[in-house]
């Protein structure tokens, strides 16, 4: 059996004196989709930040894609992690296509991969639009296209369904399938526990006591 992709064992995060996460356990196996539910402000995005190795933990231990959190190795696995959230990381002055080309250039991918990804999310015709002039749905789809293009081993979706139409939901489904089929994992966080139960293999709930 392959090693789990993510293991968090009693992980806590504090920002100064403020506790953000307290003693969280999380395990993501290869091919698994894990949901994290909880109300706004409970620390779901911070938890994704921990898994992305971007937020340092205050106590506990964990590993992501085989790298122990808090070590230099953890930096090395970042390029195998993809993140899509309600705030797409697009540059307003670049067109949707240019945003994907930039990601392709930075990630050493062929620009043709970016054009294919744009086509897969149905934005080929709108690719010339500046991100600032595109609808939120188009921006979100472009963000998802960047993950389809990069094919990361671990996909983190932060309230990914919020504000998306049903067509865009199918893009998320496709992304989840592509990732899990190759033995990767997906973590979806949402305040909508009902939806998570439908779309994930396991749901953990964060609450104030967590």
């Amino acid at each position: 059996m392959p090693d789990p992709l993510v293991v968090l064992d009693h992980v806590s995060v504090r920002f100064g004196p403020t506790p953000i996460l307290s003693s969280v356990d999380l395990r993501v196996e290869a091919g698994q989709v894990v949901g994290v539910a909880g109300p706004n402000g409970i620390g779901k995005t911070t938890l994704l930040g921990v898994v992305a190795t971007l937020v340092p933990i205050s106590s506990g231990k964990g590993s992501v894609l085989g790298a122990t959190l808090g070590t230099q190795d953890a930096r090395g696995v970042r390029s195998r992690i993809g993140w899509s959230g309600h705030d797409p990381a697009l540059y307003d002055q670049l067109t949707l296509r240019e945003n994907l080309h930039l990601i392709a250039d930075l990630a050493a991918l062929d620009r043709a991969t970016a054009d294919e990804a744009l086509e897969r999310v149905g934005l080929t015709a709108a690719g010339h639009r500046r991100s600032a002039d595109a609808s939120n749905g188009m921006r979100r789809r472009t963000d998802l296209a960047s993950l389809l293009m990069r094919r990361p081993d671990l996909v983190l979706l932060d309230e990914a369904h919020a504000g998306l139409d049903s067509e865009a939901d199918t893009i998320i489904d496709a992304l989840v399938k592509v990732t899990t089929r190759k033995g990767g994992g997906v973590i979806m966080v949402s305040h909508d526990a009902e939806r998570l139960r439908d779309e994930t293999d396991v749901v953990i709930a964060l609450d104030r006591a967590t």
């Binding site: 970042r78 992690i81 705030d87 002055q93 990601i103």
Partner: protein
């Protein structure tokens, strides 16, 4: 081309396209820089001899203050989500620093290039004997200002008083750059050796470059 330079050039292209289309920085800073050059003569008795004497000091002052503003504003181009994305794309923090510095230097050079003819037009200064040497000095000056501003921008990212604090950090450290550039020009005009002052610029740039390289990773960690 190595991955490092591919990433650095992608950042340069990003920053220049963003600035070229938004014109947020240059449209705000350039008119004020030009206005500053234009109004200083009204604050003196406007004698031609007096204007000629203060021409280059005015130029360097305008170059420092407005160049710094251009470079500082340009460092704020990335949102937190974008910084996070760069980390997850595996972008080398040093390549990111290099890319932002090159783009910032290009914008500072534009400020220097636009204000220089105005100085000649309004102040009638002494001619510069070796203009190509001076062009090299301007590049070193612009690089230094861009590196300093990029570092200050990173150190103050996320702080409420970012703009004020970053300016306060940049001004004192820019003294060797200002001194090096101004004294090189003075030495050129007076026919003296420029070597000590060019070296001052080169060494300052090197110190800033080494500082940028050594701190790039930890600054990125603290800003994502």
């Amino acid at each position: 081309m190595t991955q490092f330079w591919r990433q650095a050039l992608a950042i340069v292209k990003r920053d220049l396209i963003v600035e070229g289309r938004s014109r947020e920085t240059l449209a705000v800073v350039l008119p004020f820089a030009a206005a500053a050059v234009f109004v200083v003569p009204f604050a003196t008795d406007a004698l031609e001899a007096r204007l000629s004497t203060i021409a280059y000091p005015v130029y360097w002052l305008v170059a420092l203050l407005f160049g710094m503003q251009v470079a500082l504003r340009q460092t704020g181009v990335e949102s937190q989500a974008q910084r996070r994305q760069l980390s997850l794309l595996g972008v080398d923090p040093v390549a990111r620093f290099a890319g932002r510095v090159i783009a910032g230097s290009a914008l500072v050079l534009l400020v220097l290039a636009v204000t220089a003819p105005l100085i000649f037009l309004f102040y009638n200064p002494e001619a510069i004997p070796r203009p190509w040497t001076m062009a090299g000095v301007l590049v070193l000056f612009a690089l230094g200002i861009a590196m300093l501003s990029t570092l200050a921008g990173d150190v103050t990212t996320g702080l409420a008083a970012r703009t004020t604090l970053a300016s306060l950090l940049v001004v004192p450290v820019s003294v060797p750059l200002l001194l090096g550039a101004a004294q090189t020009l003075e030495s050129l005009i007076r026919g003296r050796t420029t070597l000590p002052w060019v070296l001052t610029l080169v060494i300052t740039d090197l110190v800033l470059a080494v500082t940028g390289v050594l701190t790039a990773r930890s600054l990125e960690e603290s800003n994502t």
